[in-house]
Amino acid sequence: MISADLAHAYPELILAIGALALLVAGAFAPKQTTLVGGGAVVLLLVAAFAAATQPLGVAFSGALVTDAAAAFSKVAIYLASAVAIPLGQPWFERRGVKTFEFPVLIVLAALGMGMMASSGDLISLYVGVELHSLALYVLAAMHRDNAKASEAGLKYFVLGALSSGLLLYGSSLIYGFAGSTLYSDIAVAAGQQANTGLLFGLIFVICGLAFKVSAAPFHMWTPDVYEGAPTPVVAFFAAAPKLAAMVLFARVLGDAFPAAAGQWQQVLVVIALASVAVGAFAGLVQSNLKRLWAYSSIANVGYAVLGLASGTSEGVQAMLMFMVLYMIDVTGFFACLTALSRQGRSMETIEDMAGLIKERPALALAMTVFALSALGLPPFSGFWAKFYVFKAALDAGLWGPAVIGLVGSVVAAFYYLRLIKAMWFDSSAGATDRPPVEAKTVAVGLALFAFPLVLVALTWLDPAVAKAAHAFGLA
């Protein structure tokens, strides 16, 4: 019985055993950081392959669900994590932080995110959330001689612990009223009678998860953490953890509470609109690009939650598509920021970007693509992402929220265009350093995906996402 279960857990096993092996290797040869990093990338790629080819079903008496949605999101999560290693490790080494723990922590974070994406039980939900967030807290503070990074790590840790508390409190209420931690049993209990206790627990779980995806009104930590944490680390935790938490959101709502769809839809619509509004308006006054993109990510998470709020399979499909395309945008943008520096000082404000098109045409062009894509201009990838979300919202009859979302998108266009204007039309602020090759490669590669490769990719992303969305228990 155990061996049959283990066949469902191959990606997890590969990552867990591989992380331990890398840790031992790193402890015995602490100078070989490149080797450990390379091993971690290989590990993540192998795990992604294993996730794509593993048998579908449930294992460990329902705790681990390996359906199409889990496979799809795991592949996306592992690949996004694999990109973070070549992006981050040289950055740290240039700043004199030569640690082999960076790739190991990324692998363990990816493991936790995979567990979140395939959780079928409140306990695996919590363990997965804790595993990935603990690794992220450490990554945020890893540049420990930098006061801002330490502050970011501490802030992230304290507020993250608070949100874990909310999550646990909600889970214990749900367990108390449903009598089980399994999503399938909770769905049965929730379907039998309207139970205020269960709904109370669900609201707490929603609050905890909204914290993890940084949706308003639980977004306060995001700008400070993004600003303080090392740029390549931000590139990592603005992307994959958000997808994992959104899939978890869909799992809890779709698998455990399909009967309470009417109730949680209202909550999600409020969260989505608040996020879009906060992201659009608070972003207008930011001059630091990392803070700006923190607000942009709050707004974008709002759109993903809006897709989920539709409460339909089409909505989940829109959410998955949105998150995958958004992950590429945000990773690419932060890769550009990682690549850019002026006399050894990283360029983080809009003024720093003035005249970049003459200095670094390739990176400026890539940043323009990402900004236009995040803005939602056709034919860039961000447009298709928003197209799916608004279509799902309109089909579910959410006309009002969709219109407000569109208005928020127009408001947010101002700050993306301000960045583009500074890069293309302002006079240059001085020579920039030669960009490191790995960050530039990642940035340009992802920009090429955002346009034009996305048009090709959509033809196979669309059926994959549709298949994944049908795995959830929503109509």
Binding site: A16, F60, L105, S124, A135, V138, M142, G153
Partner: protein, 207 residues
């Protein structure tokens, strides 16, 4: 049965008295020692109920780790306990009120569990769980490594990440720190470890 009752009353009395002494002891180190006694007698109560695994856990985790940690904190931090005690009489009524509420809630919960909860349907809740005729440490071990192996291993990974994090964020290799290298110590011979000097009177060896 009579022996069990005597043991229960003795240990319960020790628990309550020691608990009171934790609060009333003047010396904070004595407080921690009383706390350890409280833990031990609570562990004894668990054994009486047939929950020897919980008793073991209480001794190992609370006495072995938490209480020792308290001792370290009490001894290393310079906390002015006299200042902390100020206003004891002033806050006494409010504290007593809260204590009464807490006690009432606990009695309510305990009586509800005993009459309506799981304990009402099971005469020996701890001794033999899961239909197995095994001591409860073994019974817990059996489900922990079969049904719950996924959670168990994943929790282990969470602790591993916490450990890596603590090391990454705090360990510093400062230059000039003299570390103990056992290999060097073992390989030391009279030739390398000894220097014969012939100092002149009143000069000393110097460095």
């Amino acid at each position: 049965m009579a022996l069990q009752a005597i043991a229960f009353y003795v240990m319960a009395a020790v628990t309550v008295i020691a608990g009171f002494c934790v609060v009333s002891a003047r010396n904070p180190v004595h407080s921690v020692l009383w706390l350890i006694l409280t833990f031990f007698s609570a562990a004894g109560l668990f054994v009486l109920m047939g929950a020897e695994f919980l008793a073991m856990l209480l001794v190992v985790v609370y006495v072995g780790a938490v209480a020792v940690l308290f001792l370290f904190v009490v001894m290393m931090l310079d906390v002015d306990f006299a200042a902390l005690r100020q206003g004891f009489a002033q806050y006494m009524p409010l504290g007593l009120l809260i204590a009464v509420f807490l006690a009432a809630e606990m009695v309510l919960v305990a009586s509800t569990v005993a009459t309506k909860g799981a304990a009402a349907h099971n005469d020996t809740p701890m001794a033999s769980g899961f239909g197995m005729d095994a001591p409860n440490a073994e019974a817990i071990g059996r489900v922990l490594y079969t049904d719950y192996v996924y959670f168990f291993q994943a929790s282990g990974l969470v602790l591993l990440v916490a450990m890596i994090g603590a090391i990454v964020l705090t360990l510093r290799h400062k230059p000039g720190v003299r570390r103990q290298v056992v290999m060097d110590q073992v390989l030391r011979s009279p030739k390398t470890g000894m220097k014969i000097a012939n100092p002149k009177p009143g000069e000393g060896i110097g460095e």
